[in-house]
């Protein structure tokens, strides 16, 4: 058992890779998801339809397929390295889910809030920015945290395009030391540490942002 520790240095860069893919995936996902959620709620039929099509396509097909689509499929159009391919695939994939999370959160804000803002003479944009979104973001946090954890675990699919993140690293180590079970367990420990840290951070933010909604 103690000599398992000597494998940890091999896992550290792998964990870092997992973290990098996940972070970029989430970042891209947020950048895509937020405007898509607004498009989805827009009165503009074309924008709504485009958002619906995107969300439907992404949610209706596997992430692995989407990843292959970007890494292998787009080759004739643009040649992307494995890392950007993985980050992009994870981002585009999460964008759809994050869009739905934002949409739900925005729609959950009481209509009376919009009316109160508009009745005071605030414009639509002001009402959205000052009244609706701050309340919606707060409500989106728990499901967002959930989605981030899913993204972290989904980043393991990057192993299929030869990115040496946690899963691929554990398999490669096992192929030389014949300790498959142990290597996979080590990978699991790293995942647990990272998902644990992620949910802790999300909870902290949730708590910080809950002013006014929690009894002092």
């Amino acid at each position: 058992m103690p000599d398992l520790f000597r494998y940890i240095p091999y896992f550290l860069p792998a964990a870092w890779m997992t973290l990098v893919i996940t972070s970029f995936g989430i970042l891209i996902g947020l950048l895509i998801g937020f405007p898509i959620s607004l498009a989805r709620l827009s009165k503009n039929k074309a924008a709504e339809l485009a958002a619906k099509a995107y969300i439907g396509f992404i949610r209706g097909t596997p992430l692995l397929l989407q990843l292959f689509f970007i890494y292998f499929g787009l080759v004739r159009l643009i040649r992307l390295d494995p890392l950007p391919s993985a980050a992009l695939a994870l981002g585009i994939h999460n964008g759809a889910y994050i869009a739905e999370i934002f949409r739900g959160a925005i729609q959950s804000v009481d209509k009376g809030q919009i009316e109160a803002g508009r009745a005071l003479g605030m414009s639509k944009a002001q009402t959205l920015r000052r009244i609706i979104l701050p309340q919606a973001f707060r409500r989106a946090l728990p499901p967002l945290g959930n989605q981030f954890i899913i993204a972290l675990k989904d980043s393991s699919l990057a192993s299929t395009i030869s990115i040496r993140e946690l899963v691929l690293t554990s398999r490669q180590l096992a192929s030389s030391n014949y300790m498959m079970m142990e290597m996979l367990m080590l990978a699991a420990v790293f995942y647990l540490i990272m998902t644990g840290a992620l949910s802790f951070i999300v909870h902290r933010i949730e708590y910080k942002m809950s002013v006014g909604e929690r009894a002092v």
Partner: protein, 251 residues
């Protein structure tokens, strides 16, 4: 009273119709309110009282007829309705305070964003108004921590912070526990005494008798009868008004 009649009404509705789908909710409303006048609107649930109020500040758009503010008609889609709305305060049945802002934050929001007031200036104004509704000790408290009556008083201060030309109240006390009604009505009475122009949907008879210059009875999307409170309450002309008053005075 005579010279008031000559002046341009603050609010005037001309043959206003409103449908929700097939439902004909307002069936030709002619209605005007003079400066400093306090008008109470009564009528059964579903008779169109809220819709009438909401047409005044364009939360609903009347598809026929016109709404005038100080004699000016604003086109609901082509005109600048935000400009109209800032002159009209509204108090909702469910308060609709902004839960993510403190009491002070709620009150300074519109003066800063809409009137472009400096924060310091808005804060001075807001503190004054919050004191006026008796909540100076709650400045930094979030709405969740307030009772219904306190929430509604904040909502009144929030509307007043825009220095509106007219205040609309849509059943401001009907979501309140009975023991909290008085504090809100007292604030409204004070406003009325100060000469605020008010249009109030309420069944609080005390307020109607004490504060109203005119009471309007609505039924099925029409103004059935209007008059001074003592006329309407003691000597209604219409059968429908009599029946309605009998009903609410029983409760």
């Amino acid at each position: 009273m005579n010279e008031k009649k000559l002046a341009e009404p603050i609010v005037r509705l001309e043959k206003v119709h409103k449908h929700f789908g097939k439902l004909h909710v307002l069936k030709g409303i002619d209605f005007s309110v003079q400066e400093k006048e306090v008008v109470v609107i009564i009528g059964a649930s579903g008779s169109g009282k809220s819709t009438l109020l909401r047409c005044i500040n364009y939360l609903e758009v009347a598809e026929q007829g016109k709404v005038f503010l100080e004699g000016k008609h604003v086109h609901p889609t082509k005109g600048d309705i935000n400009h109209v709305r800032r002159e009209i305060g509204m108090v909702f049945q469910n308060f609709n305070l902004f839960p993510h802002m403190t009491v002070l934050g709620n009150v300074i929001e519109a003066p800063i964003r809409v009137r472009g007031m400096k924060k310091e200036e808005a804060t001075i104004l807001a503190k004054d108004l919050i004191a006026k509704v008796g909540l100076s000790d709650k400045l930094d408290v979030y709405p969740r921590m307030l009772s219904g009556g306190q929430k509604q008083r904040v909502a009144i201060a929030r509307a007043l912070a825009m220095s509106p030309k007219v205040m609309l109240f849509d059943e401001p006390t009907s979501a309140l526990d009975p023991e909290l009604v008085g504090e809100v009505i007292a604030v409204m009475k004070e406003l009325a005494d100060e000469g605020m122009t008010m249009i109030v949907v309420t069944h609080e008879m005390w307020f109607a008798k004490e504060a109203a210059d005119r009471v309007i009875y609505m039924d099925e999307g029409l103004i059935v009868e209007e008059g001074k409170p003592e006329e309407i309450f003691t000597n209604p002309r219409e059968e429908r008004t009599k029946a309605f008053l009998k009903q609410i005075l029983k409760d």
